[in-house]
Amino acid sequence: MNMLAQLPASLWNDETAAHLLNRARFGATPAEIDSARKKGLVAMVRELVDVRADAGNVPPPAWAKPRNIRAARMALKAAKERGENFRETARQFRVMEGDEILDLRRWWLERMMNSPAPLLEKMTLFWHGHFATSVQKVKDGYWMWLQNDTLRRNALGNFATLVKAISRDPAMMIYLDLQQNREAHPNENWARELMELFTVGIGNYSEDDIRAAARAFTGYRIDMTTQQFRFARMEQDLGTKKFMGHTGPLNGDNVIDILVRQPACSRFISRKLWRFFVEDEPSQEIVDAIASRIRAHNFEMRPVLREIFSSAEFYSDRAMGTQIKSPLQYIVQTSKLLETQLPSPIVVQNAMRQMGQILFAPPNVKGWDGGKDWITTSTLLFRYNFANYLISGDAMLPAGQAARAKPQDAGLRQSVQRRQLAEQIKRDPIDVSKFVPDPLRDKPHQLVDLLSGRFFRTRLAEKETNTFVQFLESRKPDTSDATMRELVHLMMSTPKFQLA
């Protein structure tokens, strides 16, 4: 059975078009869905996939420049040893780090919202979860930007190239202690995670393989005066290694090539891709089918994604409207559907934290598992209340608790922070006329149908539709903006709104 036969043209409609835009992008408005439907499956897939790695041409944040870290650290150390109050400088460093990461999150979220190549951003997010690295250990905004840039450049390209680039990425090297790997004392952290988490998966390598790989990756260093990767040739272990049936003076790139050629690698990546884009529990058949295409395309992501997004399997009943939106998907898609701006960075950062997906700070090396993990009673209530904030600007809690930044320092600074926070939390209610046509305001059934089509990807039960209609009828003759906003809030305060 050919699992990846193309979706028949007769099945291409608003629903399948919406499904494609939800999964390959961060959602779409009815107008965008209509436009996609008109373009047709093939053209739409090409439009999404065949984008350049530098599409969007967005410059890095202004502060994202390398610094001479060694000099800075030595200065701090000297001050400490002199007994000076270096703590103020150190604190300023930390505040700066905090500000930089906040701004980096804003920068990336804006790309997710506005990029002409949204699949590129979505794939970058996929790889960010795959090559999980956290600023909590890396402690530097520039390095986190640099890794993001590396991921984006290779997101739709060749997987082996991507892994090699990541092996030289300073943030990753710090996160997995690769720069501490020495011939005399090999550090196996990177070698193990390279196999377990990035390529072949657990059970497909031996402890001997890990030791051999650790030896192969010696010499990888970071130049602390330029914050760039450098190769310390003198520290490289050039001896013969035995790795997965290959023998020779293998280096890091050799190891990666060998790993990527393992069938287990194609299956590992296949499963991850399908879980991210399609459904939580892929069948073994689809995993094998995609794996086979990954190998056939020599691990080039663009053709693989073209096949996935064109396949009938992608549009199966099991897949459509059954994926719980990740926090990032939730934030971006909801903002789009409301035809409004993203909230201020500090609010979004807090929302990411409360929903369990903070950009640049995955909880651990395994990234985000997703699916049902996104939903607890607390996160669900938060999503409902956050929707209220997006719609009405209602900050949910007194004294701006909705967006409380962790106080950097007690005392006077805090009152300044509170004032700044209050400014950032303020948000105007949305303009409902952008998607509520005036003539329909007093026609509950039609209005509910129209808005359901916009906000839900799963069919509503009759009961649910009736509840929305009853709500509107209970408000008659009030068809004000406030009532419209309450209706939208009700729609978003449902289990089905969590699905894409």
Binding site: K80, E81, G83, N85, R87, S134, Q136, K137, D280, E281, S283, T322, Q323, I324, R353, Q354, G356, P363, N364, V365, K366, D369, G371, K372, D373, I375, T376, T377, S378, L380, L381, Y384, N385, N388, I391, S392, D394, M396, L397, Q401, T458, A461, K463, E464, T467, F468, Q470, F471, S474, A482, R485, E486, H489, L490, S493, T494, P495, K496, Q498, L499
Partner: protein
């Protein structure tokens, strides 16, 4: 392919035979007419585990930042202590002595009284092999109870919930704060988090008048309080699950709907309790006291929670420690004293066990800024109406150090294991992955 377990409709529930005298709960008014139907075995298992109402309760208090153990449980008689800390060593005459070697920080008078009453166990030298001195990593190690060289995603309490309490009310674990602690992370995620009980609720768009606005009525209809085709509403002990079904086995939509219903019911229960129960015991100011006060009120109100979690920060005293740590100790002492008094007044002191932990202690020697840097082993407090009091474990040597840091004597998982086995009645081996030597604290 997993079979999808669909939730029974309310009508089916009413049709099936009802369980006989189950524990009586405080029911929100609009749920009074519903029943929950479980077969006897499941009911037994569920009431056994979920009945925080009459069963034992664990309160975990995290001191975040790395509390200085040496100035908390002070080895005042050891010259090395005074030599290493010319500025920070606490004067002998102020120490609240426990025995000839150690005593408590002068601000911990309340804990000293508890000790004398026989309600406080002090476990000395608690740590783990290959200690990590990073806040994040070491906190993760304590939360997941993993070995230092492994990465565990799920928390020790999460694994406890997975093993004992599947199908139980999500209020089985309650964390006071903004984020779910990693200790609660579980395969079948459960537990709720809030900073204030009034805030754990759905907020209608219209301004909140305190009464159920009409919008809220529609909201409830959309989230499971409906006659047909929705999960049956119950009081919350086990909401419509078939025995043994974990939430993770449900289809995605069923899972969402079940969670929505759980959220509503938990929220109602918590709000009802918060409105009804206020403490008459005065608590000190501050976030820590506010957290424990909420916990005390939830206990008073009969919330069926097994494990409460609270966290208090500020312990990362790298500089100017003397006054800061003194304030922290005062806050800790006064808060615990109030909490204990509150529980005693409620008659619930015997049911509660409170343990404190910190991600690490601090170095033996003070630094050049009147503070201390990240260290390793430190003491844990274990207190409650049924604790076996005393000093446990060995105090680490202040001279035979590990690169300037104390060597641990008791693995923290021994404390966890003892609590799991003897207080939560669950085999610690399953939760922790292996058996650790138990302590005679319970």
């Amino acid at each position: 392919m997993k079979t999808k377990n669909t939730l029974q409709t309310r009508r089916e529930f009413l049709r099936t035979s009802m369980l006989g005298a189950a524990a009586t709960w405080t029911l929100p008014v609009f749920l009074e007419k519903t029943f929950f139907a479980l077969d006897a075995i499941a009911a037994n298992a569920v009431t056994q585990t979920a009945t925080g109402k009459d069963g034992t309760i664990l309160v975990v208090l995290q001191l975040a930042g790395g509390n200085d153990g040496l100035n908390t449980v002070v080895p005042y008689a050891d010259d090395a202590y005074h030599r290493a800390r010319p500025r920070l060593a606490l004067p002998d005459e102020q120490i609240l002595t426990i025995d000839h070697h150690v005593g408590l920080n002068p601000k911990l008078a309340g804990l000293k009284s508890l000790y004398e009453e026989g309600h406080l166990a002090i476990v000395q030298g608690v740590g783990y092999p290959n200690p990590n001195r990073s806040h994040f990593r070491s906190t993760e190690i304590w939360q997941t109870a993993s070995d230092a060289d492994r990465n565990e995603t799920h928390g020790w309490l999460g694994r406890y919930f997975d093993n004992c309490c599947s199908g139980a009310d999500p209020t089985i674990g309650v964390a006071i704060g903004e984020e779910m602690p990693q200790a609660f992370a579980a395969k079948n995620s459960t537990g709720i988090t809030f900073s204030r009980p009034e805030q754990f609720r759905w907020r209608a768009s219209a301004s909140n008048t305190g009464h159920m606005s009409t919008e809220e009525i529609f909201f409830r209809q959309l989230n499971g309080f409906d006659e047909e085709n929705t999960p049956a509403a119950t009081d919350g002990a086990s909401i419509g699950t078939l025995p043994g079904t974990s939430k993770s086995d449900l289809s995605t939509l069923d899972f969402l709907q079940r969670t929505a219903l759980d959220a509503q019911l938990s929220s109602d229960k918590i709000l009802a309790i918060a409105r009804k129960y206020k403490s008459t015991i005065p608590y000190p100011q501050g976030q820590l006291a506010a957290s424990l006060n909420i916990i005390a009120r939830m206990i008073a109100g009969g919330l069926t929670t097994r494990v409460y979690y609270a966290s208090h920060g500020g312990f990362d005293t790298h500089a100017g420690q003397f006054n800061t740590h003194g304030r922290l100790m005062t806050e800790l002492n006064d808060t615990i004293a109030a909490f204990v008094a509150d529980l005693k007044q409620q008659g619930n002191f015997e049911r509660v066990l409170l343990i404190t932990f910190s991600e690490f202690g601090r170095r033996v020697a003070e630094n050049a800024n009147g503070g201390t840097d990240h260290g390793t082993a430190a003491p844990m407090f274990v207190l409650g109406g049924r604790v076996k009091p005393g000093l446990f474990g060995k105090h680490p040597s202040l001279t035979e150090l590990d690169d300037g840091d104390l060597k641990f004597n008791t693995d923290f998982r021994s404390v966890y294991g003892t609590v799991l086995d003897s207080w939560l009645n669950t085999p610690s081996q399953i939760v922790l992955g292996r058996k650790f030597p138990s302590l005679a604290i319970l």
